[in-house]
C-alpha cells in the first residue's frame, strides 16, 4: 500500500516529488536545448532511439511528479492549472516546448545571425542565412514599382499629406466634430483624388469643361433652393438629363477652355506599382465600395419589389464569382462593352471591378446590421414624422453601422489581402514586383527572402487593422 502511495504524488511528501519532478523536467529541457543550440547530445551513450525519446519520457515523468493538487505553492498551482492538468495536456505542452526550442536556432540564424545585410550586390550573400541585401537593393522597386526614381518624392509627399489630412479627426474640437462625417465622406476623398490625379499621375492640366458639366453643376446648386416636395425628383432627373442633353445632343463634346497648366511629368499608371499601388487601390476601393454597398443593402430591404430583386441579383452575382474572374472580365470583356474610341485606364478598370466586388460583401454586412435593429427603432422614427431618407440617415444607419464595425473591418481586410490579384490585369503591386524581381538573372534564388519580406509587411498592416477595428468596436459599444 505504501508503495502505491509512493508513486502517487500528493501533499504528504510534497518536497520529494517537487524536487524530483522539477529536476527531471529541467533535465529534459536542458537536453533539448543543448542539442538544439550547441548540437551537443548529452545522452549519446544511449541507443539512438532511446536518446531521441528520452527528453519526452523524462519530461513526462517530471510533469507527472509535480502535478500535485492544492500544493499550497502559488506558482506551482498556476503552472499545473495552465499547462499540466492531465497526462494528455502534459505531453502536448512538452511537445510544444520542445518544438519552440528546436525551431528557434535555425530561424534565428536564417533571419539574423547568418544573414547578410551589407553591400549592394549578390556577392555578399554567401552565408547560409537570408540575403537582406536583395531586399535593400530592390527596396525602391518593391515600394514604388517602376515609378521613376527622381519622381518618387511625389508619392511620398502625397501619402504624408493624405495621412496628415486623414488624422484631422483626432484633433478636431467639439465645435467641428459635427462636420467630420461630411469631411471624411465627401471632402477627403475628393482631396485624395486630386492628389493622386495631379501629383502621382501628373501631366499637363487642362481646365476644360463641356457645357453639359457646367449646366449640371449649376442645376445642382439651384436644386438646393427648390421646395422640399419636388427636391427628390429634381435631383433624380434634372442634372443628369441636362448633362446628357447638352453633351451629346446640342453641344456635342464642345469644350470651354479655361486654362492650361504644364504640371508635373506624366507617369502612366502602368509604371505605378509596389506597396504604394497596394495603398492606392485599397484606398479607392474602400471609398467606392462603401456607398455602393450601403445603397444595395438598403435596396435589398426596400419595399419596392423591383428594386429589391435588382439588388438581390447584384449582390448574389458578385458574391458568387471569384475575384480573379471579375478582374479577367474587366481586362478582356469590359473593353468590348464600351464605345470604340472610349478608353478607360486599366488601373481604373481594376478599381471599378474590385469596388463592385467588395461592395456586394459590404452590402451583406450592412444588411446584417439593418436586420439586427429592433422594429421599434423604425416605428419610433416614423412616428416622429420622419421620411425614408431622414429615418435612415439620422436613426437607422448610425446604429446599424455601429453594429457591423467588425464585419466591415473584415471586409476591408479581405480587400487589402485581395489587392495582389491585380496581376491579372498586368499591374504589379508588391507581390507582383517580387515575382518580377526573382526572375531577374542577376538576383536568382532569393524568392524566400522576398516572400518573407512581403508577408511581414502585409501581416503588420492586416494585424494593425484588425486590432484597430477591435478598439473601434469597444469604443462604440453602447448598451442597448
Amino acid at each position: 500500500m505504501s508503495k502505491i502511495n509512493f508513486l502517487k504524488p500528493d501533499k504528504s511528501n510534497l518536497n520529494t516529488f517537487l524536487y524530483l519532478g522539477a529536476f527531471l523536467f529541467f533535465f529534459s529541457v536542458l537536453d533539448v536545448s543543448l542539442n538544439s543550440f550547441f548540437s551537443l547530445n548529452i545522452t549519446s551513450f544511449l541507443p539512438n532511439f532511446i536518446s531521441f525519446l528520452l527528453p519526452i519520457i523524462l519530461g513526462f515523468i517530471g510533469l507527472y511528479f509535480i502535478r500535485i493538487e492544492l500544493s499550497g505553492i502559488k506558482q506551482l498551482d498556476l503552472l499545473n492549472k495552465n499547462i499540466n492538468t492531465n497526462n494528455f495536456n502534459a505531453i502536448l505542452s512538452l511537445l510544444i516546448i520542445f518544438i519552440i526550442i528546436k525551431s528557434t536556432p535555425p530561424i534565428l540564424s536564417w533571419f539574423y545571425i547568418d544573414a547578410s545585410f551589407a553591400g549592394d550586390s549578390k556577392d555578399v550573400c554567401t552565408g547560409s542565412g537570408a540575403c537582406w541585401t536583395y531586399i535593400k537593393v530592390w527596396m525602391r522597386r518593391f515600394m514604388y514599382g517602376m515609378y521613376p526614381n527622381a519622381e518618387q518624392w511625389r508619392i511620398n509627399l502625397s501619402f504624408i499629406s493624405l495621412a496628415l489630412l486623414g488624422s484631422v479627426g483626432y484633433f478636431a474640437t467639439d465645435r467641428f466634430k459635427k462636420y467630420l462625417t461630411l469631411y471624411y465622406v465627401v471632402i477627403y476623398p475628393f482631396i485624395a483624388f486630386l492628389f493622386i490625379f495631379f501629383f502621382i499621375s501628373g501631366g499637363p492640366v487642362f481646365l476644360d469643361f463641356s457645357y453639359g458639366i457646367i449646366a449640371a453643376i449649376l442645376s445642382i446648386i439651384i436644386g438646393f433652393f427648390i421646395p422640399n416636395k419636388f427636391k427628390f425628383y429634381y435631383f433624380l432627373i434634372v442634372p443628369l438629363a441636362l448633362y446628357i442633353l447638352l453633351k451629346y445632343f446640342i453641344f456635342y463634346e464642345e469644350l470651354i477652355e479655361l486654362g492650361k497648366l504644364e504640371g508635373l511629368n506624366w507617369v502612366e499608371t502602368g509604371a505605378w506599382g509596389g506597396l504604394s499601388l497596394t495603398f492606392i487601390i485599397s484606398f479607392f476601393c474602400l471609398i467606392f465600395c462603401f456607398p455602393i454597398g450601403m445603397a444595395f443593402a438598403l435596396g435589398r430591404r426596400s419595399n419596392f419589389p423591383l428594386i429589391r430583386y435588382i439588388s438581390v441579383g447584384f449582390i448574389e452575382f458578385w458574391r458568387g464569382v471569384p475575384l480573379i474572374t471579375v478582374l479577367f472580365m474587366s481586362a478582356v470583356m469590359f473593353p468590348m462593352f464600351l464605345p470604340e474610341d472610349f478608353f478607360i485606364d486599366k488601373l481604373v478598370r481594376a478599381i471599378i471591378a474590385i469596388s463592385l466586388f467588395e461592395a456586394a460583401y459590404v452590402a451583406e454586412v450592412i444588411r446584417g446590421g439593418l436586420q439586427a435593429l429592433p422594429r421599434g427603432q423604425y416605428e419610433a422614427a416614423k412616428s416622429l414624422g420622419m421620411g425614408y431618407w431622414k429615418m435612415h440617415i439620422f436613426v437607422i444607419l448610425p446604429q446599424a453601422l455601429k453594429l457591423v464595425i467588425p464585419g466591415i473591418a473584415n471586409t476591408f481586410l479581405a480587400l487589402v489581402k485581395d489587392t495582389p490579384l491585380i496581376f491579372v490585369v498586368g499591374l504589379l503591386e508588391i507581390v507582383g514586383m517580387l515575382n518580377l524581381a526573382k526572375t531577374n538573372p542577376e538576383w536568382l534564388g532569393f524568392a524566400m527572402e522576398g516572400y518573407v519580406f512581403a508577408a511581414i509587411i502585409f501581416w503588420i498592416i492586416c494585424y494593425a487593422m484588425s486590432k484597430y477595428s477591435y478598439n473601434l468596436e469597444q469604443k462604440y459599444k453602447t448598451d442597448r
Binding site: T85, N89, F317, G320, P322, M336, E340, V424, F458
Partner: protein
C-alpha cells in the same frame, strides 16, 4: 394617385437605368464585334482545342474539343477544392478546439497560428509554398523514399497507385456498409428517444466499415496490389519517376496554402460555435445525470453545430472560389485552362468569361441553396 406615383417612379427609374446600361453595353459589344469581325456563339466548344494540359483527371490531349478542356479545368478545380475542404476542416476543427483548451501553451499556439496565417494574403502564401518552399525539395534522383514507397521531390509527390481487381464488388460492399450504418443510426436515435437506451453506434459502425470490405477481399475475389513509382532516366541529368500516381507541385502548393489559410477561418467558426453554447446548458445536462461524453454528444454538439455550420459552409464556398488563384502558379484549373489558354486561342472573350463566371455562380448558388435547406432543417422551432 400621388401615393401610387411615389411608389412607381423610383422603381421605374431604377429599372430604366439598368435596362439603359445593359442596352448600351450590348449595343457597343455588337458594334465592336462587327468591326473586329468576331461572331458571337458557343459553337467553338465542339471545335478541336489543339492545346495540351499538364495535369488532367480525364483523358485529354490537343485533339479533344474545347468542351473537354472545360471539363478538365472544372474537374481540376473540384479536385483541389475537395482536398482543400477536407484538410481545412480537419485542421480547422483541431485548431478551433485547441483555442479553447485550458492549456495555456496550446491555446496560445493555436491563436498564433490563426493570427499568423489569417493576416497574410492567400496569393502570397501560394507563391511562398510554390516558389520558395517546394523549390527547396530534392531533385528526383536525390530524393529519399518516404516509408519506402513514395517520393517527395521538386517535380511533385510520387505515390504508389492502387491496382484493383473486381473493384465493383469492393465498391458495393462499402456502399452496403454505409447504408447499414445509416439505418442503424436512425434506429439507435429512435430507440434513444423512445426508450432512453444507448446503442454503441460508433463501435458497430467501425466494425461494419471494416468487416464488410474485408469480407469482399476474402470471398468476393477482390485483389489489391500497388504499383510503386520507379526512377527513370530521361536524359543524362533529367530523371523522373514512372508508374504510380504523381501529384504535381502546383497541386501540393495550392492545397497546402488553401487549407492552411481556410483552416484559420474554420477554427474561428468552431470556437465561436462551442463558445456560443450557454454554460447553463452544460450544467443542466450534467445535473440530470448525463456523463461528460453524453453532454458533449447530445447537448453541446447539436447546438454548437447549428452555429458552426452556416459560416463554415461559407468558408467552403470561399475556398472553392479562392482555388481560382491556381492560375497564378499555372495549375490547370478552370480559370487557367478555359479563361486563360482557350480564351487566348479563340478570342471569344464574352462567351468564355461568361461561361466561367456562370460555372462558379452555379457552384456557389447550389452550395448556398443546400446550406439554406440545412439551416431550415436544424433551426430551432419555437413553440
Amino acid at each position: 394617385m400621388n401615393f401610387k406615383l411615389k411608389d412607381i417612379v423610383p422603381q421605374l427609374v431604377t429599372v430604366l437605368a439598368v435596362v439603359l446600361i445593359f442596352g448600351f453595353f450590348t449595343y457597343n459589344a455588337q458594334v465592336n464585334m462587327e468591326n473586329r469581325g468576331i461572331d458571337f456563339g458557343y459553337g467553338f466548344l465542339s471545335q478541336e482545342s489543339s492545346f495540351d494540359v499538364q495535369f488532367s483527371l480525364i483523358e485529354y490531349d490537343g485533339s479533344h474539343s474545347y468542351f473537354r478542356a472545360y471539363l478538365v479545368g472544372l474537374l481540376n478545380t473540384i479536385l483541389v477544392s475537395v482536398i482543400g475542404i477536407i484538410l481545412a476542416t480537419i485542421l480547422g476543427v483541431i485548431v478551433g478546439i485547441a483555442r479553447l483548451s485550458p492549456n495555456y501553451l496550446i491555446n496560445q499556439f493555436a491563436a498564433f497560428y490563426v493570427e499568423f496565417f489569417r493576416n497574410i494574403p492567400l496569393l502570397l502564401q501560394i507563391f511562398f509554398w510554390y516558389f520558395a518552399a517546394l523549390r527547396a525539395l530534392p531533385l528526383p534522383q536525390d530524393a529519399e523514399p518516404m516509408f519506402g514507397i513514395s517520393y517527395l521531390t521538386i517535380k511533385g509527390l510520387f505515390v504508389p497507385a492502387f491496382i484493383w481487381q473486381n473493384f465493383n464488388i469492393f465498391f458495393y460492399s462499402v456502399t452496403a456498409a454505409i447504408i447499414a450504418i445509416i439505418v442503424i443510426r436512425t434506429h439507435a436515435k429512435k430507440v434513444q428517444e423512445t426508450q432512453g437506451k444507448q446503442i454503441p453506434v460508433l463501435l458497430i459502425s467501425i466494425g461494419l466499415i471494416l468487416i464488410l470490405p474485408l469480407l469482399s477481399f476474402l470471398i468476393g475475389g477482390v485483389r489489391l496490389s500497388f504499383e510503386v513509382p520507379v526512377l527513370k532516366q530521361l536524359a543524362t541529368t533529367s530523371f523522373i519517376y514512372e508508374g504510380g500516381v504523381s501529384l504535381p507541385p502546383e497541386l501540393i502548393a495550392l492545397t497546402l496554402s488553401l487549407s492552411l489559410y481556410t483552416a484559420t477561418f474554420i477554427a474561428e467558426c468552431v470556437r465561436a460555435g462551442i463558445q456560443g453554447v450557454g454554460k447553463g446548458q452544460k450544467e443542466a445536462a450534467a445535473s440530470i445525470g448525463l456523463t461528460p461524453n453524453q453532454v458533449l454528444k447530445l447537448v453541446v454538439m447539436p447546438q454548437a453545430l447549428r452555429i458552426i455550420i452556416p459560416p463554415t459552409t461559407n468558408q467552403y464556398l470561399n475556398l472553392t472560389k479562392n482555388s481560382s488563384l491556381a492560375a497564378a502558379i499555372a495549375y490547370p484549373d478552370l480559370v487557367l485552362v478555359f479563361a486563360g489558354t482557350a480564351l487566348m486561342q479563340t478570342g471569344k472573350a464574352i462567351e468564355i468569361v461568361s461561361i466561367t463566371m456562370f460555372t462558379y455562380l452555379s457552384l456557389s448558388v447550389s452550395i448556398s441553396l443546400l446550406m439554406n435547406w440545412y439551416n431550415r432543417k436544424i433551426a430551432i422551432t419555437e413553440k
